[in-house]
Amino acid sequence: MKAPTPIIEIRDGKKSFGSFVALENINLTIHEGEILTLLGPSGCGKTTLMRLIAGFEGLTSGTLRVSGEDVAAVPPERRPVNMVFQRYALFPHLDVFENVAFGLKVKGLAKSEITERVKRMLHIVQLESLANRYIDELSGGQCQRVALARALVNEPKVLLLDEPLAALDLKIRQHMLAEMKRIHAETGATFIYVTHDQDEAMILSDRVVLMEKGRIVQIDRPEDMYARPKSLFAAKFLGETNLFETAVADSGAQGTVAKTASGIGFLSRNGAGHKAGDKVVVSIRPESFSFANNDEGSSQKTQGQVEDVVFIGSRSFYTVRLDDQAKIRIQVQRNGRVKPPEPGSRATIYWDADNVVMLPQA
């Protein structure tokens, strides 16, 4: 595999509106052809970052390059970037075909070429039969496809998607996610996808940029970010997790050991950099706990009382009260061989040192 080519590079980006700092210390390189998600809670600056790339806003300081060219002075209409708006922003006075043709017409392409490209794009988004419909005659999912087609028909180097599925209901959302992946594969454009929905980010992205309060917190592949969050915020924002306030007791070759005040010890192979006496938060995902001892060598254990079981088909969620009164959530995959404990019974809980993540206190 050849080295990825950078298409967008932001160095020391800062954006303020008056005295409000919306973005700070933004250093980000986006590679050609990848799906990159800007993920974060509302108000974290992800939409501002995207509007900067689109050209609707300008950086207060720092540089933004697209294909190596500094675009500070380039207005949105002259950037090789197109956007899919959150509320689609389709033109109500035009029909589907004319909406999709808009950008090509502005560019002044020949009519035959416009027709051909619009038709091809409508085929990709499966809207050929609705070409002559007006926007208010379409469903939400259809509007979404028109918005995608209207942006993609211009063959942008980068496609920006601003929470494009937020207005759709769950079922269509899942369908559109799959569509989006297919369209990405078919067009080969770089997708920058803004969302506050961690599931969308996980399903779609090659890399996730996690943001909080105007700063980038972590950039990683989704599976790495989930397994190795680098901050408490990342651990809590992506998926569910169990957190323990601990202090590091020992740090050695086999890993780092941290203990809660009540004496439960956690051995971690992901705790390098912490020294004895440091206060750290231990994060263990619900699925990393188990009622069965899988691996004699590295498993650690503690005891507790099963309080509650929620059964959701292939998985069950257990709430267990540990002996120090801390409550943890355990996810158990349905498995014929191991009989899980009944509510009210005592149970031994096992986990593996590989799945123990030690995080600095926030």
Binding site: E77, M83, F85, R87, A89, F91, H93, L94, V106, E137
Partner: protein, 291 residues
């Protein structure tokens, strides 16, 4: 207990409908009936004659003053709309506060007549404009033509009706989301291009409405032309008013009022047709959705 939608609707609109029926529709119908009656020595005689209409249509004076009224109306409405659009655009898409909108509304607190007299002061032979031009040496004696001209009438009417037109344009732009401008720019148009290709077509009906309402108010205004227009200040409005006030020929006045109404209607449709032919106003054939 709940009332059906149609019953609720009727109840809510009943007072207005009643008021308009009694004080607008009925009087209009009476006026319409009058327009076929005849007048003899300050008396209105029930009759059925077409002479009020035919007489007006063949009278050079009627056409001269109607031409005046329409020309003042079209000029004023055009200038007003051109001035109102950038202000409304700023108010709807750029400004974050409503202060300027309130300031615009504030201008309505000054009296109509006071403003007309203010313009007389500004434009008169000893007025501000002449004094400044004299001081600058651009003219060597006061220009009388500033006052009592269609220039004076138009400038005053623009001043009076601009706030009204701005509000109408603001209302029609408010329905169009800012996103559409961003989307158009994202797809390669400049900001002006975005206005022409996206905002204007979507606001076209509202913009034509703003133009027409301004036109109708201005074309029917007979106070400003009378006080500032001199010989060019004879408009249909004044002619009609004179039939009621001075000559006492109500049937003729009524007929002329209806003719003016028809002329306004004709201009509206001409405008709409021009808009559609130029592609600015999109005429959407409402397709029935398949069941």
């Amino acid at each position: 207990m709940s009332l059906s939608k149609s019953v609720t609707g009727s109840l809510l609109s009943a007072p207005t409908v009643l008021y308009m029926a009694v004080f607008f529709i009925v009087p209009s119908l009476i006026l319409f009936a009058y327009s076929f009656w005849s007048a003899a020595s300050y008396q209105v005689v029930p009759d059925f004659v077409l002479k009020n209409y035919l007489g007006s249509l063949t009278s050079p004076l009627f056409w001269k003053v109607t031409f005046n009224a329409i020309s003042i109306g079209l000029w004023t409405a055009t200038i007003t709309l051109i001035l109102a659009i950038p202000v409304a655009y700023y108010l709807v898409y750029v400004a974050r506060s409503q202060t300027i909108l309130y300031l615009i509304l504030l201008t309505w607190f000054s009296s109509y007549l006071v403003r007309i007299y203010a313009w007389r002061t500004l434009l008169g032979t000893n007025g501000v404009l002449n004094t400044v031009l004299l001081q600058l040496g651009i003219i060597d004696h006061p220009v009388g033509a500033f006052l009592f001209s269609s220039f004076a009438v138009t400038i005053t009417l623009v001043h009076i009706y601009l706030p009204f037109c701005i509000l109408l344009v603001v209302a029609s732009l408010s329905e169009i989301k800012r996103d559409l401008i961003d989307a158009a720019r994202d797809l390669g148009t400049s900001s002006i291009g975005a206005f022409c290709k996206v905002i204007a077509p979507n606001a076209a009906n509202g913009l034509i409405g703003a133009f027409m309402l301004t036109f109708i108010l201005v074309a029917g205004d007979y106070v400003t032309p009378q006080m500032l227009g001199g010989s060019s200040g004879q408009t249909t409005g004044l002619l009609i008013a004179d039939q009621f006030r001075k000559t006492g020929n109500w049937p003729l006045g009524a007929a002329q009022a209806f003719l003016m109404f028809l002329v306004s209607l004709a201009i509206y449709f001409a405008l709409l047709t021009a808009g559609r032919m130029s592609g600015l106003v999109v005429h959407r054939p409402r397709k029935k959705k398949e069941a």
